[in-house]
């Protein structure tokens, strides 16, 4: 195929509509497919955003895509934040503590580790790289029950460390920094510094570290998103509601919603729009990060997989 490239026409910036799709009927089918999937992906999110502004009655009888009222939105907000004495504030705080605590430890250990794996030589380097790759590709839920059994043995269950420490072990972050340091740092720069008498520590702190800002941001993004959204680990490790992150707290709200749990009727019961509001709040930090990070996400997931 590549031998035929001589006949390539000059590229223009104008979209050429007839290319790529075969005729009007083909385009019609493809457009229909696209519309179906756009609706599939968009409807639940749009509906969720609207639902949080309605009262329980309007949610059931009004048009699904009608707007609620500010009054109802405020009422839902008040119901959510008074639930179990403002439990959700504590849950959000816990989520922040766990996600950011683990993120900081991840950065502190991953950046030097990625640097060492990329630019120094020691006997355990290869085994460490292979284990990193293998563990990186297994789902993080696979180690949760073994970690529970281990931490139960040492009496850490219920302690914030029982989620922060396992989350801090983030092989993907080490892999990203390893890829970054082995492709983006000119080796001559490091050798020059050594010849000038820099110690190994100052080569790292004065040269490699200042250049690592992009990969630090990338690792921080992935670590935060994964930590914030983690459900199984805190679900298993933290028995008491006061220690829940918001993802696990949602199950408590769900259990108090009569529509999904008929035994929950009572003064502390949660209406559907309030549950919708809680769902929005539970993902808000990640949603905001996602709005600005598509390029980020792709560059991370494809790291090392594409040939430059």
């Amino acid at each position: 195929m590549t031998t035929l490239r001589a006949s390539r026409p000059p590229r223009t910036g104008i979209p050429v509509r007839t290319r790529g799709l075969a005729g009007w009927s083909g385009r019609g089918i493809l457009a229909a497919v696209l519309i179906v999937f756009v609706l599939f992906f968009a409807i639940p999110i749009v509906w969720l955003l609207l639902a949080a502004g309605k009262n329980a009655h309007a949610l059931l009888v009004d048009n699904a895509f009608s707007f609620g009222t500010l009054q109802d939105a405020v009422a839902n907000w008040n119901q959510l934040f008074s639930f179990q004495g403002g439990a959700i504030v504590g849950w959000i705080g816990n989520s922040g503590l766990y996600a950011i605590g683990a993120l900081l430890i991840t950065l502190i250990v991953s950046v030097p580790a990625g640097y060492a794996l990329a630019l120094t030589e020691f006997r355990l380097r290869r085994p460490l790289l292979i284990v990193t790759l293998v563990v990186m590709l297994i789902p993080n839920t696979a180690l949760v029950l073994p970690e529970f059994l281990e931490l139960n043995l040492v009496g850490l269950i219920g302690n914030p460390l029982s989620v922060i420490l396992p989350m801090s072990f983030f092989p993907f972050g080490v892999y990203l920094t390893y890829i970054y340091f082995s492709t983006s740092i000119p080796r001559d720069l490091l050798s020059a510094a050594r010849i000038d008498g820099c110690s190994e520590i100052s080569v790292f702190t004065k040269i490699a570290l200042p250049l690592a800002a992009p990969v630090v941001a990338l690792v921080a993004f992935f670590s935060f998103v994964q930590n914030w959204n983690n459900f199984f680990l805190p679900f298993v490790m933290l028995p008491s509601s006061s220690g829940y992150p918001v993802q696990v707290g949602l199950t408590t709200l769900l259990a108090s919603t009569p529509a999904f749990n008929p035994t929950a009727a009572g003064s502390e019961s949660v209406q559907l729009p309030t549950l919708a509001l809680a769902t929005i709040i539970s993902v808000l930090p990640v949603l905001i990060m996602f709005l600005f990070s598509q390029r980020f996400l792709v560059s991370g997931m494809t790291a090392g997989g594409t040939k430059e």
Binding site: F41, R125, L128, A142, L143, L149, V225, F260, T263, T279
Partner: protein, 317 residues
């Protein structure tokens, strides 16, 4: 097809990115100091890997082969959990879900990536990818909760559609036979967008010249997709398939929340991870729980190891 690369690539993987170092120029003293510093730099990560990767796995292994009093139990625990009346149904549930999900994921992600890539109007293509990818922000409990609403005909934004299928109540929607499809829809809604964006990126690596040449040779869009674009996506399709297969075996939060929300119409022992959870937390049988965890861990490790050593995705030029 992607796993036909020679097994010796394991070495290539581990050595990738390694610069050829002028050993002779570096004195032995300097080399050993740099080796020491290497250990210092990886020490924090090494401790975490030991504490939360290797030791838990070894401890679970130990528990799986001992009884409650710590005596050696051979394969008794494994025989017990596999013989449990809930085990094979759970395997069946997870397998059914995996089939539905993987097939739809492979077919639809590739199709949507090709279609979006064929759109030459830039803002439209960007917007589409954004809409597909945004639900990825709702993971775990949040997306399941959202789908509880969508699947409940009384509140659902697609209630007419549910009624058209003959569903008038939530309980009718979540009949056991429907669950593999429901879980697949939730997982697809959350996860497919990221993969579509990735496949789209991979398609951008196909040079315009190649496509143009094929078109001049008389190939139509479908032929170009099948004979040029698909082979170039092969590695990514394999990557997606294996990662999704491994993640799918871990099914937990979806059936757990659905069980809670359905007043146990869906059992709390639907998936293998739920069963392992019940063994640990309801039956206080840590040895049985460890045995199931080890079985799941072996599957995950095997998939991952096959991919690392033979997939060739992590090679770098």
């Amino acid at each position: 097809m992607t796993v036909t690369v020679a097994p010796s690539d394991a070495t290539a993987v581990a050595d990738s990115g390694l610069p050829s170092r002028p050993r002779a120029a570096t004195g032995r003293r300097k080399a050993s100091s740099r080796s020491r510093i290497g250990y210092v730099f990886v020490s924090g990560y090494g401790v975490l890997m030991l504490g939360f990767g290797i030791l838990p796995a070894l401890y679970a292994l130990l528990l799986a082969f001992t009884d409650a009093d710590g005596g050696f139990a051979g394969f008794t625990n494994f025989a017990k959990v596999i013989g449990d009346y809930r085990f094979l149904p759970a395997v069946g549930h997870v397998a059914a879900y995996l089939v539905v999900w993987l097939v739809s994921l492979l077919v639809l992600v590739v199709l949507l990536a090709l279609v979006v890539h064929a759109i030459k109007v830039r803002w439209l293509s960007t917007t589409l990818r954004f809409v597909f990818y945004l639900p990825g922000a709702l993971a775990g409990a949040s997306s399941v909760l959202l789908w509880l609403f969508v699947l409940d005909p009384s509140s659902s934004p697609v209630a007419p559609l549910l009624h058209a299928f003959g569903f008038s109540s939530f309980v009718q929607v979540i009949q056991p036979g429907h669950l593999p499809v429901i879980f697949a829809i939730i997982a697809f809604w959350t996860g497919a967008g990221g993969w579509i964006v990735i496949m789209y990126g991979a398609l951008n690596n196909v040079s315009d010249e190649t496509i143009e040449a094929a078109r001049i040779d008389g190939a139509n869009a479908a032929q170009i997709a099948i004979s040029i674009q698909l082979p170039l996506l092969r590695k990514w399709i394999a990557y997606m398939g294996i990662m999704s297969l491994a993640a799918g075996t871990q099914l937990f939060v979806e059936p757990q929340l659905l069980s809670q929300a359905s007043n146990a119409v869906v059992g709390n022992d639907y998936s293998l991870n739920q069963l392992a959870y019940i063994y640990a937390f309801t039956q206080n049988d840590f040895n049985g729980s460890a045995a199931i965890s080890i079985l799941l861990l072996i599957v995950a490790l095997a998939l991952s190891a096959v991919f690392v050593t033979r997939g060739g995705l992590f090679e770098k030029d």
